[in-house]
Symmetry: C2
Subunit: 198 residues, 2 copies
């Protein structure tokens, strides 16, 4: 930056030489391409988190058998927590997929850059904690249900709950990966003043 | 930095003027003091996390009534998880308290600085997830035990489990605060090349 304003040895102001500009344009192109690849990786993780958490929520929401004596998912606190946490994460992931696609196609973030990187990271963290908490509670409940006669009478209910909780854990894993990447973006932003990581 | 090496207008090399050095010494003193206050804050959070997780582990480990028919904590998976996770966090917090005291008294980290800041942050994150997961599972189990006749026959067992889980959540909260602060130290380290935040 300073070299363009420094006085020349011959007395006048130097005109900026073309070489640094070409180099910086080249670097900028490489940076944009790397950033694009990085964004596509985030998009893949977001999509995986969306699929797994949506599947988890669907499995739990449809987990009610007909008949008055059979167990319903909404009668168990932990299963309600699993269903609602998975639904919230699915909605959030859908929003983040939209934001990612927007960023890849237009090259700009939806919110101002500083808001966007901190928004992504903080929400990833909070929702990852929430989803893990819900699925841990769901696992503990599912295990105690196996010891009771609920599962011998209604095995399909227990199997469907187990699948829902397992899908939730898979969603948590991909949300965790997204959180690592968005944390990396926060650090890049703090370091360089932009989300580009070069 | 550059000003010390720049040629003087009179021709010779300037000797470094005393004012910047005094200013930087002053800034360094302020920085050391701020860092000390920051470390004391971390130490307080670590100590709180240690106390709560140790109490949680002790409450769970001693949660067995005499008599052959009464419930034991080690017969429940989720309660074993609560006890072991709390014990691990208590040990880790104890180590971190030692590291903090060392740093405050000697002004240097136990490991090399780059290892220390990343070690603290990563372990805070992993153990916070683990403790939350354990206590969520413990909560779900404690709630289902209330519905069964376990708690009417052995109310003390259930109350002690509830207290242990609640103490575990308090420990998680303080571990989360420590994690925020150690994350801040990581960012400072990346920004400045030192854990000092100025």
């Amino acid at each position: 930056m300073r070299s363009g304003q420094e006085p020349n040895r011959n007395g006048g102001l130097m005109t900026p030489s073309p070489r640094p500009r070409i180099q910086s344009q080249f670097q900028s192109t490489v940076s944009v391409q790397k950033n694009r690849r990085f964004n596509i990786l985030i998009l893949v993780f977001r999509f995986a988190a969306f699929c797994f958490s949506l599947a988890s929520a669907m499995f739990m929401f449809t987990n009610s058998r007909g008949g008055s004596g059979s167990p319903q998912w909404y009668n168990f606190d932990a299963f309600r927590f699993v269903a609602i946490a998975a639904a919230i994460v699915a909605l959030y992931s859908l929003f983040e997929i939209g934001a990612s696609v927007w960023e890849i196609s237009r090259g700009a973030t939806v919110f101002p850059e500083v808001v966007q990187v901190w928004f992504d990271f903080s929400h990833d963290q909070v929702f990852a904690y929430m989803l893990l908490s819900a699925d841990s509670a769901g696992t503990a409940l599912a295990r105690t249900l196996r010891e009771r006669d609920t599962c011998t009478a209604n095995n399909a209910f227990c199997v469907q709950s187990d699948i829902s909780v397992a899908l939730g854990f898979a969603g948590f894993m991909f949300l965790g990966f997204s959180s690592l990447l968005s944390g990396f973006r926060v650090i890049c932003f703090i370091l360089n003043g932009s989300r580009f990581h070069m």
